[in-house]
């Protein structure tokens, strides 16, 4: 790939505390983020997302390992000397300054001339559609407006990399959807590398060029949203993003043998087979190549119906069937049916 690497972490370890009480917030994380990319760090609470962001920004020093920006080692540089800006989860707007002064803060600190500062501030406020609020104090703004100001303030000095720590989590659902679109637009327009932190998998899937899934201080998988969803590398990634079924299997040539004896084609390797509920079709029990199962329960969700099924060896499987299709198969509790996996949908993964 000819793309430049904007941010790199090399074998980064970060421990807090000493001895027995020490917490390993980051455990040997290595990562490369391309220039101009919308990169998302996704993971459950406490997995180390904020810690990684703070290492990139320079608020914390790694216990070991290096941080590189544009290929230069910045591990020892303080935050005010890194071409990186942060949109904080709490926004951290300056309460004693107006919206315009907040946005112009970084430029003023850099000693830029007033006309230049004013000009940039006006452009940034236009970018986030906050021109009319320039002279307001930040305490008089709504959450969404504060969020825009925080964004404009971080973008004003034109950083090489923008770090965003769950910037949308304080907003209500509607505003959140709007801001997701807005953020994506801003990222395209400015061409700045975004490193975005969230624990919302849907947000990650819809916005990112690539996603890094984290768990317990470790980077589990880095890939495009589609790859993460269709080809997770382990049980954690598969279960954290979307719903899925896990079945213990014995790998065979080009596939795997289920506990009930059926053999299915599956890519990847490992002792567990995963298949998304929507990739399973329920057929009559005597259909060709169908895996026999018994219907345990079904739950109606409007567009879909979830069928809870049991295989002959007792393993449970959930299938998600579009509701109109349900009428034709006509399943009832206790009925014996057949299951067909969509081609290329089943994957073998590590534990």
């Amino acid at each position: 790939m000819t793309q430049k690497i904007a941010v790199a972490a090399e074998h980064t370890v970060k421990s807090f505390g000493q001895g027995k009480a020490s917490v390993r917030a980051l455990d040997d994380v290595s990562l490369e983020i391309q220039s101009g990319e919308f990169f998302t760090l996704l993971g459950p609470s406490g997995c180390g997302k904020t810690t990684l962001l703070r290492l990139i920004a320079g608020f914390e020093a790694p216990t070991s390992g290096r941080i590189l920006l544009d290929g230069a080692d910045v591990t020892e540089l303080p935050p005010n000397r890194r071409p990186v800006n942060t949109v904080f989860q709490s926004y951290a707007l300056f309460p004693h300054l107006t919206v315009a002064e907040n946005v112009g803060f970084a430029l003023k600190m850099q000693g830029r001339k007033k006309p230049e500062v004013d000009d940039t501030v006006a452009r940034m406020l236009a970018l986030v559609k906050m021109e009319t609020f320039a002279t307001r104090k930040t305490a008089q703004l709504s959450g969404g407006q504060q969020q825009r100001v925080a964004l404009a303030r971080a973008l004003a000095p034109q950083p090489k990399v923008l770090l965003l720590d769950e910037p949308l989590s304080a907003l209500d659902l509607k505003l959140r959807k709007e801001m997701q679109v807005e953020l994506k637009r801003l990222q395209k327009e400015t061409g700045i590398t975004f490193v975005f932190v969230t624990h919302d998998q849907e947000e990650a899937l819809t916005m990112s060029d690539r996603i890094g899934v984290m768990s317990a201080g470790k980077l589990q998988q880095v890939a495009t949203p589609r790859e993460i969803y269709t080809a997770p590398v382990n049980r954690f990634v598969a279960s954290f993003i979307g719903e899925t079924n896990f079945l213990p299997v014995t790998p065979t040539q080009g596939g795997a043998r289920l506990g009930c004896g059926a053999v299915v084609a599956a890519a990847g390797e490992g002792p567990v087979l995963t298949i998304r509920p929507e990739q399973i079709t329920v057929t009559p029990v005597d259909a060709v190549g169908a895996i026999p199962a018994t219907v345990d329960a079904q739950v109606y969700f409007g567009t879909d119906t979830h069928c809870h099924l049991r295989l002959s060896d007792g393993e449970r499987v959930t299938a998600r069937i579009p509701s109109p299709a349900m009428g034709e198969t006509g399943v009832g509790i206790g009925q014996r049916v057949g299951l067909v996996f969509a081609p290329h949908a089943a994957r073998l993964i590590r534990e």
């Binding site: 935050p79 005010n80 000397r81 800006n85 904080f88 951290a92 707007l93 803060f105 600190m109 000095p157």
Partner: protein
């Protein structure tokens, strides 16, 4: 609200006022009475052996800035008075500056301790307050005098040969006042810093501010109400300080407080003493007004 209810609340209010009338009268008399006496005295003639003659005179007020020549009776600017005023203002401003320079890091230190520890630190800061002012001042005397703690230590360390003459200088007064009034600076500063959102430091640091810029453009403007409060709380009593300059400054290095006392004592010029007191009061009131306005502005912007 119905008319009956309206009338009832009005009656209740009137009754409330009626009931508190005795207290109000007492308060007014106790607060305004003595002031009124001082005000009246400042416009009377001075008596031969102190006290006042009951005759109207501007002499007390004129005497603040001018003295009458003993021989030809012409008025001339009273240099000695101006020196005392100037010293009072200068020492008070310097005391304020010193307590701020010492108090800000102290308050910052306390405010950034774990919440459970802060109470103990604040208690330590206020301990001197539980001690009598005179005793504290004599303790300083004990440290500063020629054979005192400071000189003994410095000489035994070989840093100086002869004892430093600190006692009975402006410097001694300054040290004493800074020591006595430090808690008055620390407490309001602490209150302001404790409310300060430390995440703003990281935000400023992230936006290319150096440490000095963070201090100047973020911390100081936001804790300004605390700075103003602390400064007024130190400046006002410093300006009227009496015990400290008396004990540590000796008789010569007077401040306004000592000067006023002198008029009611050996000076036997009660009207001048009264006029000086009123002047001091006005200066303090102006300072307080300034404070209230600054504090309001602070709370408006930060609210």
């Amino acid at each position: 609200m119905s008319r009956a209810e309206d009338a009832m609340t009005r009656t209740a209010t009137r009754n409330g006022w009626l009931l508190s009338t005795p207290a109000l009268i007492l308060l007014t008399l106790a607060a305004a009475g003595p002031l009124l006496i001082v005000l009246v005295y400042s416009f009377l003639e001075k008596g031969q052996y102190g006290n006042v003659e009951w005759a109207f005179s501007w002499d007390g007020w004129v005497g603040i800035l001018f003295t009458r020549d003993i021989f030809d009776g012409t008025l001339g600017l009273a240099d000695a008075h101006l020196t005392i005023f100037w010293r009072s203002v200068k020492l008070s401003l310097m005391t304020t500056a010193i307590t701020f320079a010492l108090g800000f890091p102290t308050a910052w230190f306390i405010a950034t301790r774990p919440a459970a520890e802060r109470g103990m630190w604040l208690f330590l800061i206020t301990i001197p307050f539980w001690t009598n002012l005179l005793i504290r001042t004599f303790a300083i005397n004990e440290v500063l005098r020629s054979e005192g703690l400071l000189n003994t230590v410095l000489i035994s360390l070989g840093l100086i040969d002869a004892p430093l003459q600190i006692m009975y200088t402006d410097r001694a007064v300054l040290i004493g006042m800074a020591y006595v009034y430090l808690p008055l600076m620390v407490l309001p500063l602490y209150a302001a810093i404790e409310r300060f959102d430390m995440r703003l430091l990281e935000a400023a640091y992230d936006l290319y501010a150096s440490r000095m810029q963070v201090l100047r453009h973020v911390i100081l403007p936001i804790v300004k109400p605390g700075i103003v409060a602390g400064s007024i709380l130190v400046f006002v009593p410093s300006l009227g300080a009496y015990v400290t300059p008396r004990v540590l400054g000796g008789g010569k290095n007077m401040m306004i407080g000592n000067f006023i006392e002198l008029q009611f004592g050996q000076g036997r010029n009660w009207p001048l003493g009264a006029a000086l007191s009123m002047t001091l009061l006005v200066v303090v009131m102006v300072a307080l007004l300034f404070y209230v306005r600054a504090a309001n502005r602070g709370s408006n912007t930060n609210g």
